[in-house]
Subunit: 343 residues, 2 copies
């Protein structure tokens, strides 16, 4: 199955996103890397620092969302050039960069190495590959756009964290098959094409709770990058303390709230979503909802992500945006590199 | 000076926000509470969990932004009913609720108590006051709107964390005086009134870095609650990996980026702000900037916050919104309470 990645056209975002369930299934940790992980003294680890940016950060954020209620040590996401001071010797730093060349990630990794942290790298190559001994690197297949590589990055990051915190490893092949099954009718939700149509003239505001909060952030980023249009995110219950008061401007600015619902919500959270919906409707705003039944938490996280990834590509088609190009990100990187030379 | 709070009209948000610098100066930790803090064995603390929602959460987020580069232990913000699993016995849980009745905060505090965490409370009364022995409660003066109470909450939360992590205590009286001095000409920035005018027909998108990232979030919430209109936030460098691609929709949706600049930016961050600005301008978007010179990090954090608090109230005046009322938040709380009774 590993040949599959070469078959996917790097210039075809629809195909890359369609491959989500298969990408989740084809990849597993290398023996060498897994052996290294098993040899780390788990009892002495004080915390895990996930270092990465943009599309490479998402797998870490989704993993943290799933594991914060299971981990006996803090899992901290760092999206900057610098590590917080408390990430020191007994912390594990996992540097995730699909390209291997993200400068913030390389800078933070270097800091972690300087502090004597146990460092791991997850990458398809680039500079990151040579910053660590090979057994501390989980090498990913090349050839995907970083944001479309989420399933294979996740399939490396998530089991790494599970091994470090000592929870049972999930069967990602089974999860991938579940996603394939679900996409036949999307669990009764409207199709991603219909969904994309219904937000095509609006700013979607994705609102999630707990493990679906990072999915809301992922949806914002995917729509920004693939469809080149504005999208924002927020969390329940926090949004109930401030954002809810802004809803009288939603019609004026064409903001459409999208609730990412979970079957794991406690009563208080369910009621908050319901009442927030009532308040929005009283304002003439109909929030959209995405909800799946009878899934494990990891299935729920990944199917919401997959569905919204598809929405972002369908939205690009409607808006006639090129989902592949990231001209502005490239311009920025080029200008940053040239200013480096002049300094 | 403590009588001041009674003199401020609870129904006058302009006056409450104007009192920001004085509120920062009038308040200090009680002797009993400070003694308790001094007796906590600092060497055994594994981390600090800041528990709070909305206006009560902000002081913690600002403190974390200022202290992450100085603390040897993780400072984690929890805005939910549940604590992450890793917040256990050797963690300090600081429950912050101005009213003392925020249900998420009370639930998380209860969990912390059940796990044997060292628990502290910062509140003006309510149920929270009776959940802990008096020496573990820092009592705040009543009579302000929670979101306007930020300076007095901050003046309790920030020194609490500083004591726990062993950094030098800042002189908040001096900081307050500095704010009073700065508001004479706002350090050369346009006035909050002018600023409010320039965003009055747009969605402001506040973008910060490091210690100014939580200020960007505060600005979003203040505009939501006071001016009843949409506002969003993002972080540099993360926004350079996704959000920047959405800028071609900014004109269509009347989104106006606002950069919160810091004199503590490293070259890479400064260049990122500059190049992001260039890319936005090439798209016909002129980002606004707020920037102050020659301030300490805490002064910078608080003067940006104060300035943007003023903007939120001025914006409310322009939009003819009542900055005091929070009808939707009240409706939601009432409905939640009545559904509790029927369950």
């Amino acid at each position: 199955m590993m040949g599959m990645i070469e078959e996917i056209d790097k210039e075809d975002m629809t195909a890359m996103v369609d491959a989500f369930p298969s990408l989740l299934q084809i990849y597993s940790l290398s023996e060498e890397y897994q052996k290294k992980l098993e040899h780390i003294d788990k009892t002495s680890i004080k915390g895990i620092g996930l270092v990465g940016m943009g599309g490479s950060a998402i797998s870490g954020l989704l993993s943290k969302g799933l594991l914060d209620q299971k981990s006996h040590i803090p899992i901290v996401s760092v999206q900057d050039y610098k590590l917080p001071k408390y990430i020191q010797k007994k912390w594990v730093v996992i540097a995730v960069s699909y390209s291997g060349n993200t400068e913030e990630t390389l800078a933070s990794l270097k800091e972690g190495q300087g502090r004597g942290c146990t460092c791991l790298g997850i990458t398809s190559g680039g500079k990151l590959r040579n910053k660590l001994p090979s057994e501390q690197i989980q090498l990913l297949p090349k050839g995907l756009q970083p944001r479309a590589a989420l399933p294979i990055i996740f399939a490396a990051v998530y089991p790494t964290i599970q091994l470090l915190i000592g929870t049972d490893k999930e069967d990602l092949v089974k999860v991938g098959r579940k996603l394939e099954e679900l996409e036949k009718d999307w669990g009764g939700n409207i199709t991603p094409v219909q969904f994309a149509k219904s937000i095509s003239n609006s700013i979607p505001l994705f609102t999630g709770w707990s493990h679906l909060s990072p999915v809301a952030y992922r949806a914002r980023c995917q729509i920004n990058e693939n469809a080149k249009t504005a999208a924002y995110n927020s969390d329940i219950p926090e949004a109930n303390h401030n954002e809810i008061e802004s809803c009288e401007s939603f019609s004026k600015y064409r903001i459409i709230p999208v609730f990412l619902r979970s079957i794991y919500e406690e009563t208080g959270i369910t009621r908050r979503f319901e009442i927030t919906g009532e308040i929005y409707r009283a304002q003439g705003i109909s929030p959209l909802e995405i909800r799946f039944e009878e899934l494990s938490q990891i299935e729920e996280t990944l199917v919401h992500t997959y569905y919204l990834d598809k929405v972002s590509v369908e939205l690009a088609k409607i808006l006639k945006a090129d989902p592949i190009s990231v001209d502005r990100i490239s311009t920025l990187k080029r200008k940053l590199a040239s200013s480096d030379e002049t300094h």
